[in-house]
Symmetry: C4
Subunit: 339 residues, 4 copies
């Protein structure tokens, strides 16, 4: 099986919800929620592709050759690639149900470990989704980052406790899902997370805590002050608020505001190793990739996930070779031109 | 009845003048005057949609949750929403006559009061339009802002007197209609309003006076010096001068010039609660919405107007939740990125 | 006869060379030389329309009303409009020969005088064109500006002498025609005009001398130092060099460089009174309009020329009313926004 | 034979690999490698055309006329034109094999000498390509610049030695071909060139050494410090890394960094004498033109190459006349406007 075959297979099984477009850019599926689209016009999804495309990469081949080293320290461990799987759930409502959430948990957690990093796993408005992943995570030595919805603090802490029990290496909270109408319709309350509550959560767990859905330098500073381990700069795949800027476009401001106090992850329209390179040059420590991994899992299960990771890795290595970057630390802002 | 049904009904009854496009943006109807289009190429209408779309909104969910408060103090009263109905008249010439101006007065004045704000009502080149609204305004306790054409001062003062008698809470003057060819063709003279005459008008009425059609900081300062209560930043829906900038694009300059001396309303292409949010972040106190309310009234009468207000309000509340704004005062320029 | 009838008639008689497009913008006819197009891709013609369109005009109606005064002092006389006819010749090669150059001279010189300004008349690679206009100019009291090609100085001075004899009020020299391949092919040499030769020409005639085809502040300063009366900022209708900027886009720099030492005319894509307004706000004293006047003359002879002038004038007056400009001196840079 | 006939003939014989488009801009052939396209989306090829098109040229005809002098000093000799042929090989894989590499060597080397400059000749993953050109170069008095792949230093020096033996005037090294997948697939290792190795190469040959594929000021400075004679600012025709900026867009920064210490060549989308003019104004000493010369050679052999050179030269001379440039040194940044 190769990556082309994975995509061919995915195209056969994913319709009509996801069309497996030549470039996954949010144009065809705009407004489809449930489904995989951006909200309304889809502008908050498409803007990410447009912004990433506008970032130019500067070739530089005058340097001492060496194999590029893509390894990364996070959570006290070393990962071999600087990209992770973004949390996506509800295979039966956002996708066509060809895969169950159990299938996807198995393929994604296992596939990402074999890829050299790990999956952020999802929470949802029905409790089963979060629960069904815990045994899979435990079976894989805790190598995943469970992502919990921004429930009221007691329920939030309860889920974090469950994650701890499963041995998870870290825990995330996608506060950006406040705007997710599906969650609201199900009658389950999700809330913004106050700095006070955030600090309480951080104190209440031994796991590194990573809020997802940070889009401003001000909010990032609040996360740092609350003791968070990192943040995910994200607009929830463009699904919760129209006319958001591209998450990656906010990276320079956010990095300038927090310096090294936070690990910065970013998602939104990342579709190649060159995009990962651009995100790192813009200020991120690592990238999250979402929708394409779902395609990969549909087309090839765990192997599809691994093959897709290898494709992205190969492109990242190539970008590093072509720009004279030996390690991820060499991927600095001067390697790109924006605008 | 729901908002989709209102639009479906409107689509049935409004042709051929207004096509009730998926997005009301001035493209299809450009040059149609009479009709609802922008003048000539329509550039002064379409530019508003383009500009608003280009304004990006920054999500921020790290804050203490609270129900967003959309209330606003104006004219010594509290209104529950920061958007009002813009003055549109001549249902028989600009639209197809399915509604009479009497119908529209009833639906709009009543509907906006029940929405929690009020309607700016129109004047026209035939005297009847202004007159027919006065009893409706009186019957609704004066809860409307009659808008008079920029007639010579005596006639202007006469109309303001009529507005006072009807108990109106304020009075506006759409000086931007100087460029309205229909008005000129009818042989009724309208004029620019000099600072001297403006001061005379302000002194001559106990009502707050609001010139509409201010597009520069210089003109706004003159209005403040003349003692006006507020202004409407407007290019008359793009119907009087080609190649005008978007009214909302002038808000930062105008706010900087007048500070808190004037209440600033703005219109032009506002089509969602997110657009209202953007206008407030750019510097407005409140927004006016015109053409979509006419569609709402055609599709659902007074109930249509209310349903449309509720739709806009819901979107505004959502934008406030997603950006960490508890009150309208929190909707500051740092919540957006322009350009 | 009205202006619509003029255009309808022109559409009947001008094909296939000029299609009398809804907007004369250089797109359809690009590369057609002979013909009326811009050179090559036509970019140096189309850029003028794009630039003018991008200039935004700021409405201002808070002022003491007055009839706008469009009069202009030039050559020691007062003209009632600030736009003139650009020199265009060779009706049989650039157009389809429906009009002769004699016809066009009669219509244009007479029509522009009745419009309240005057025509710049053309020179060409065959001597007859220049000569045939002289009696027409003389018959109209010299009210025209003969434009000579940049011949070697003796021939240039000879033509200027002929212009003096015809009583012309001024004389221009379209040095931009150096790039005109038709001229070169005819074996007649045209040259750039050196500052020294320019000063010699200025000293050698009592007529105000106006080089046409100035596009840089540096060249404008040289013209001022040589004693020229004015310049025409022009790229020869985009017909001599690809990828020229829009002439009007250079006005701010050029005006800043020469101050009031030169009268500045500008041409290129001016199609409305609003465009004339924009050119004046950008720094010009007056505009030249070319191709549309040829259309007007084809569709209505002298009357067509006058009707077109009236159309442009009406639009200019409207722009002045809508922006609070009483005189041309009020059309300052703060009335527009560029970009 | 004229240049139109050359192109007509090329269109007959080059399909389907090269379509001989009206403008060779990388749109139709994007992603075709082998073939002549840019990698992937083709963005690194198309960006060059877009950037060059956006550079505006300022006409200036107020100067003392003189024949433009396009001569250039390089390698201790005088060349009559400031553009050279870029190295392109593998006529049988990148093109359709209508010409052999031997044919192309003969046409290109001979044709460029008669054009007044010379050809940069190619290397490839099979040794024969480099070797087959050496006798042609020798037969033409060494008037060519052999370009070697960035092999390990011993093999690189060996090829340079072969070039010296053939009497070449200089030698180049297209380090940008590190990203060329065809080279890698053939199992031949190419590498970035370290500053140390570069200095070793420079010391090891009496020929001027010119690395090709420099895109940053930092890399250019390293080349200067290593003693290189010049550099080619190039992104390998957009074939090795997606989302590269246009090479010509980097010229101002690179020139500012190295001053006169390096001769700067540039390639990428140069399609006219006006483009050559723009590149020189942006900071280059000379331009390289690639794909169009291959078309010219297919359509007219050596004569096609010469005719194409004459076309480019004529356009360059015209641009110099129209901008008041007597020599190439007059083509300064103030002759253009960027953006």
């Amino acid at each position: 099986m190769n990556i082309q075959e994975v995509w061919t297979k995915a195209r056969e099984v994913m319709g009509p919800t996801c069309r497996v477009c030549p470039e996954c850019n949010g144009k065809v599926c705009h407004g489809e929620i449930p489904g995989v689209g951006g909200i309304g016009s889809g502008s908050s999804f498409t803007v990410s592709r447009e912004y990433l495309r506008s970032v130019k990469v500067l070739m530089d081949l005058v340097y001492e050759p060496a194999e590029p080293d893509t390894s990364l320290e996070l959570f006290g461990r070393t990962w071999s690639i600087p990209f992770f799987m973004a949390p996506i759930g509800c295979m039966g409502t956002n996708y066509n149900g060809y895969l169950t959430d159990e299938d996807y948990a198995e393929y994604s957690i296992g596939g990402m470990i074999e890829s050299g990093s790990l999956a952020f796993t999802p929470d949802a408005f029905y409790d089963e989704l979060f629960e069904l992943q815990l045994p899979v995570i435990r079976a894989h030595g805790g190598l995943a980052v469970p992502t919990v919805k921004p429930w009221a603090v007691p329920k939030l802490m309860d889920r974090i406790r469950r994650a701890e029990e499963a041995g998870a290496v870290a825990v995330a909270c996608d506060i950006d899902s406040c705007g997710n109408l599906l969650v609201k319709k199900a009658g389950k309350a999700v809330y913004p997370l106050s700095p006070t509550a955030m600090a309480e959560v951080v104190r209440g767990t031994r796991l590194p805590f990573i809020p997802k859905g940070i889009m401003t330098p001000e909010a990032a500073v609040r996360c740092a002050e609350a003791g968070c381990y990192g943040i995910v700069v994200s607009n929830h795949g463009g699904r919760v608020l129209e006319d958001s800027p591209a998450p990656c476009s906010m990276l320079p401001e956010i990095r300038a505001a927090v310096g090294d106090k936070l690990k910065i992850f970013v998602d939104g329209g990342i579709r190649s190793g060159l995009d990962v390179f651009k995100c790192l040059a813009l200020g991120a420590d690592a990238a999250l990739i979402g929708r394409p991994y779902v395609v990969a899992a549909h087309g090839g299960g765990k192997e599809g996930v691994i093959l897709y990771s290898q494709k992205i890795l190969g492109e990242l290595q190539n970008a590093m070779v072509m720009t004279g970057c030996h390690t991820l630390a060499d991927i600095t802002p001067d390697k790109i031109r924006v605008g």
